[in-house]
Amino acid sequence: MMSRDVIDIKAEASAINTDKMWVIMGPQHPFSHGLWTLKAQLDGEIVTDAEPIIGYLHRGWEKECENRTYPKIIPMADRLCYAASMTYTHLYCMTVEKALGIDIPDKAKYMRIMADEICRIQSHLMWLAAVGTDLGNLTVFLWAMREREFFMDINVRLCGARMTTNFPRIGGVRNDIDEEFMMYTSRCVERFEKAVWDIISLIDDSSIFVSRMKGTGYLTRETCVNLGITGPAMRGNGVDFDIRRDDPYDNYDKVDFEVPVLNDGDSYSRYMVRIEELFQSCKIIKQTLQKIKAIGKNAPYRLKVPSKVPAGRAFARLEDPRGESMMYLVSDGTDKPYRLKVRSPIFVNVSASKPLVQGSRIADVPAIMAMIDMCLGETDR
């Protein structure tokens, strides 16, 4: 099924014939960030087969949305993913705006993408902290969490909450930002661009970290595309695609940034893509702050929208920190959605767990699966 150009790096199966053994990792297991199970079939130390089991966190999110008016779904969309609340709220608002057929003000667009990038940075730092604990490096965990705290503070100043931000609204954003916030944010971002090198030098120069990352969890471009993997896990495999650049939404086409793509296809390249995305996000935040300043203080940031959405269908997608998330809205003309479907990136990415871990040692499974950056809130919905 998979072509393995790099088979020599993978460990070879043992010559002694032993019984295959199923190891159930999860739902409560240190390696699974959230509630999910990875069944791994072992031949000695080598994983020969794997199967993910999800669904422990199913809350009936989509069904629950059908009984709520449109503004009331925004705080629910926050709770889809604890680390990427801003992007999911943004996505929901974008979908409803498409259904309404309205174009939001420029200032709101810039504020949204600024909030998105803050969210991306803090989500990637959360992931970095998790990788640190997975590899037994608690210093990485503490330092990444320390840097993340600055972005949590930005969130508090922006909208009053640290994680469940509830910031975008249908037709704009919740509140305006002031000079003090812009100054604080640009200072935080500039500080972060220097401070992140502490973490990078801690793990990138550590031969233990690099040798556990390099050469593990290989995926080829073809497998990656066939499985529908998106996000940094895909860009680490050499697929050059990013919705922010290739299908720009909300003024992403007016800011200058690069999409990191690496061709190696192992865990280390996925790690490098995420690290580089931190720097690119900083770049975007700085540009948006300048643009918001140029637009002016009294510019509109929130449009008044009708409470009822005309009957029809709408679809929007955006680049989540973890991949490509979509929402599909069917409206029947009332003030409640008829159906709201969510496509979460991790639900698809977790299907790659079999080709990812197949052929590697059981001890490498946490390090490989950490590169997917699991978030079960959005997967099970």
Binding site: I73, P75, P105, A161, D176, S206, Y301, V305
Partner: protein, 247 residues
Amino acid sequence: MARKDYLDKYPRNPAKTLWVLKPVGKVLRMLGKTIIHRPVTILYPYEKMWMPENYRGRPGLRFDRCVACGMCVKMCPTACIKLVETESDSGEKVRRPQVNIGRCAMCGYCAEYCPVDAMTVTPDFELSEYTREDLIYGPKRLVYEGITEKMEIHLEQTLMSDVKNGNPERRVSPFMTDRPVLEAAKCISCKKCEKVCPVKAVTMVEHGVNDKGRPILYPEFNDDTCICCMNCVEDCPKDALHINEVL
């Protein structure tokens, strides 16, 4: 694929160059950095973190400003707000919101959609109690000392017609523009809208008599006092009222 410029800042062959000395040097540098740095953590119960005034903790109430319109009840996504009867300072019976903090999601919608800015967000986040009953905050307990202007959240929106007409700096809230409209053919003169109006903006005006000799009453709305709480629209038994949304 062409080499990317942004990759130049990372060290080549990171793990191999001077594999012992380089990490040791870096660790020593980080050690010095950490020693002169002041601690990041705080001794929590004794020291408190600084919170901005717009921090979204539990909802707070200004008892005197509230008009019991029920907008917070309608907008609450977790349905944790309920209007209960209580006594005001002057001894009369009034209805005021009661919040079940155990279910509150701290989204701040009650403060955002309050037409009279009686509900606010507060920086109060230490809300643990011994029993679940204690988590239900009655109207008197919901009052927060020292509510400042920044704790109010205003619903400032721009009309789409204003943007089109080149007047985008005007900001309105729906409580100022949206007003109920009557379909006179459906009205049965039941006076329910007059009873439920929290700000007494509805007056029943006589428009002649019907076949049986009873007076025909149609509601008239005072645009200055109406706060667009939609109570009359929801309670109308014949759906004769609807809100005219100004867009």
